[in-house]
Symmetry: D2
């Protein structure tokens, strides 16, 4: 495949720094060509020791730096729209962390811009599509052996939420993963959202509606329920059970080593998303690098990013009103295939 | 403990015959003294080979037969009210299969009659309270180590539904087990019901809304969700996960023997309720016999039977209207303790 | 079935008292007619509150007490031979706790005495044959779907050993369960024993060779290995994996409730044999009572008791010498079928 | 870290081609600089499409090719000694597939040659040390929480053996993985081997002693048993249970997705070593590349390779004689730390 793919990484926070490390030391066939962050000290630190990398305060400058063949957007969500449009203007392939664009209107502008280009340049960072368990489940459902899916039961638990995490963010940040996973697994758009609020846990910060129970309905009548509990205190658990006409299937129950002592038989529960999905992140970026070097775009599309933002936004309204809330999507441009494809 | 407890069994159908066998051949300390069924041929057949038993077409006659110390009601639901009131009139302890009385008004009349007596005579056949798994979960929740329960996630699946099973019966027959179990496990009354209807399975009879997804709310803000799927085709599965402030616990996942062949690793799934809960039925009746011989009443009460009927009836309305439906209980007589006690 | 079966229980220690409770309060169709123990105070205490029971210092006197139809032998092993021969002399059916007779010569005398009678009266208390897991495994192996069994891997762990437990007893007391189970599951006699001694655990009493690793060979070339570890400190674990030509099967891995807290996902491990095999003991005695009332003998035979004693005795020599030791069985009387039948 | 590490890959068979792919497309920081195979057509095919690679019939020529910084030996075992000595002569770091050298005498010559160099250049490809499960178990044992290890119970099963697989190879090829893993996990040398031969499976080729049951003893009295069954027919299973003074731990039991249908609950069993240990191979090679670029050697040493060959050779004699066979190791050069380090 010849030359290494030179990647400009926008954002040098937790996620951006992790992607820089991944591109530099884990993924084959790529190099970090530029790092951009308004906090240039942080950008410098992230880029330290990497040969031939340039550091920028300004995202656009990074796109124009020498050796940049592609872009990885890991800056905060509000900066994504501008970054994506700038990448489109330069014809640069781009892997954009989720949420693609937090507000549905902005997300739709990205979709329309790419549709005007007439070819796909953007892949959105829904990394669960690269997790071994989700891939197995997707293959099983698509294979048809279990018949039509009727329900998905999902669990999404974190040890504790970051400071300033709001009740809205359980829906539009945490559950956005399940929103995309449900669309992808079922190959259907979501049409309505309901959010229930059990009495909050004493383990959650004052004022945070945690846990929540989110119900998603699909265009062909499947039902998706999600327990989201971001201060459960005991671990990072992501589970999914698909109930179909001829059977059910579960993922996320895999146990690591089992240790038996006088306290009983015990299995470790992963504490962190980056641990649980480390392989998925690696596979996501490696797949993107391989496809990009081969001139292809294969992952979740800007349409998937737009649909997720729109469903999440309806979910926030459902949380506020306590009512079932319909999801209204714009017409899908021909550039994009069916839901979740 | 001296003399064997003489039991009159009302009803010689599937359930009644099973209880006759249990009292005759499994349970210690009891004997079947009388069997009643309008179909006397069926009653004769059920009583065949049991020494000293009398057979009756009429339930009341059976209560007055010689040697009857207590009553087990296993006749169809609509006959329960009369049987319970007749037992009360004679001061006979009674174990009554669920539903105690299908309609809430009749159930309330039973509660009021027993309250007037001023002492408990009735135990209702919610046998899950005697299952080893449920007992473990109850002890764990009551022990307080996991903190306050926030949610229960329940699964209730049958291979296939009997002929003439209606969409209402998924709620007022199948889910009535979860209604009682939730009240008992949480020690709280249920205050509202919502029923969602995913697109029905192709494996369900034409016109049956199967599966359904039932949401129950409790007086202190816990949330209970129940997947009920009575034509799932693959087994009888009853699972419950309690999510609490300091941890979660699951029952109903126990695996029997694991067999690995070229088709993968496989565990048998029980196909039938009477298999899965055989031990619970045995323990329920043995406990009732032991308590009754000792002059005590310990199990689920007539109030529990009334509450279950009332919630089930609200559930049926919720299914019909598609709306969240409140549950209105009569004031609880002093004879009965708190919810689920 | 009419009259209750009157049982004389010989021995009022831990095991005998538990069987008295079981016959009196759990099992259907039987009553305790007599209790015998040289320590008559203990016998009196065990019999307290049971109607119509007589108490004896002498076992033979108990056999002759009024109302005795059958015998349950739960006295110490060295007293078994005399008790069995006395029961045979009276034509009384007898359920004898294991070991039937500890020394092979005495065990053979019992076999010969019963063979002279020309009909079976004795059943030996190998209760694992009544455990749900073992029954499932036996049915699977007999069904032939997995082909011929090649190996059994067994684990036998106790929290701690009783005082005065010797290195020999790991073989002739603990492993005697696996000796019978292997004969029964495979339907083959055992032909050789080897015992390995890893460095003993610091958790074992000074001088006790614990754990041990026992290898059993069968007449048709199957291999059985048993880890026996009676001071493992963490629980009572009995597991068995059968490896066959077309697959493998495991029992004893069933998990009770799973609880997840900040310490990980945890399952309780049973701490005691009477807990783990409570159902098996109940089923064993109920089955024996039912068969005896019906005039039949169905369980493990005196031959099974003799074979177990002989293999155990070879195992003790193998432990002492460190060498593979052959098992020499007397010719099998025609009264008994094949191995483990 | 600058320049990519140029690697000469010796051998273009199944394993070599997989390593070429890995270095070219999975691992970060390396490039394939040369490929050697006596079958140059196969070497050409393996190298096709890789930029700047040279192809050689002769291994030594490949070591001298331009851009070669390190060597990966994946040629057949008998060619390893010469390749290792040639790499040592040139001061090239080398990752050598197992067995390092099949015969103990040759393996000892490699150890002595490296000891004369006075610095480590060789890492042996015992990839289980890089598997997530084994790493967890190693960390647990080293942490000391479970006390001293007493026994390891190991299972090693393959669907079917390659053509020409001999009874010896179950020991010196298959079990060699457990030999190294046991030394590494326990940090002890192995001192004796016994091999038992159950009646062979009808599923094994005529004349192949399959399964076998291998017993390994360690210098401080721990016992390791290994079921090796290379024609089990149903999957690739590698499991290990460590039994310690204060608890036990198991790996290799992780279940992928669980699917429940009318045939029961089922989990897929991996069919192939390269699937089961794909991550371990990737991690092994990435770690080697990273360490080599940093001027370090970190993995299993030539001493580990020598010890494994010596134990395997004793195992083959034990299989032939049916007797417990001692292992005699040469004195360990100071260059190498303790067992398995």
């Amino acid at each position: 495949m010849g030359e290494l793919l030179g990647v400009a990484v926008l954002g040098a926070g937790h996620m951006g720094a992790d992607h820089v490390r991944r591109l530099d030391r884990v993924v084959s066939g790529a190099r970090v060509a530029a790092v951009a962050d308004p906090d240039t000290a942080r950008a410098e630190e992230t880029a330290a020791g990497i040969e031939g990398v340039s550091v920028h305060a300004d995202a656009t400058a990074a796109l124009d730096a020498p050796g940049v063949d592609a872009v990885l957007v890991a800056s905060p969500g509000p900066a994504h729209e501008e970054a994506l449009l700038a990448a489109f203007a330069r014809g640069l392939p781009v892997l954009c962390e989720k949420p693609m664009v937090p507000d549905p209107a902005g997300a739709l502008r990205v979709v329309e811009a790419e549709a005007r280009l007439g070819r796909r340049l953007a892949q959105i960072g829904f990394m669960r599509r690269y997790d071994a368990g989700y891939l197995r489940l997707k293959a099983l459902l698509d294979g048809g052996r279990l018949g039509r899916p009727l329900m998905l039961h999902c669990t999404h638990r974190n040890v504790s939420s970051p400071a300033h995490f709001t009740s809205h963010m359980l829906v539009n940040s945490s559950v956005s993963h399940e929103i995309d996973a449900a669309r992808w697994l079922l190959g259907q758009e979501l049409t309505a959202v309901t959010v229930l609020r059990p009495a909050p846990s004493a383990g959650a910060p004052e004022g945070l509606a945690d846990p929540q129970f989110v119900l998603l309905e699909t265009e062909r009548g499947a039902l998706v329920d999600v327990e989201v509990f971001v201060n459960c205190g005991f671990g990072y658990q992501v589970r999914c059970e698909a109930v179909c006409e001829a059977g059910s299937a579960r993922i996320g129950e895999e146990e690591a080593m089992s240790v038996t002592t006088r306290d009983g038989a015990r299995q470790e529960v992963p504490q962190d998303c980056l641990v649980r999905f480390a392989d998925a992140y690696d596979r996501e970026v490696q797949t993107w690098v391989d496809a990009t070097r081969g001139g292809r775009v294969t992952g979740p599309s800007a349409w998937d990013g737009y649909a997720a933002s729109t469903v999440a936004e309806a979910g926030v309204r459902a949380l506020e009103t306590g009512r079932r809330t319909s999801v209204a999507l714009a017409p899908r441009p021909a550039l994009y295939g069916g839901a979740g494809r």
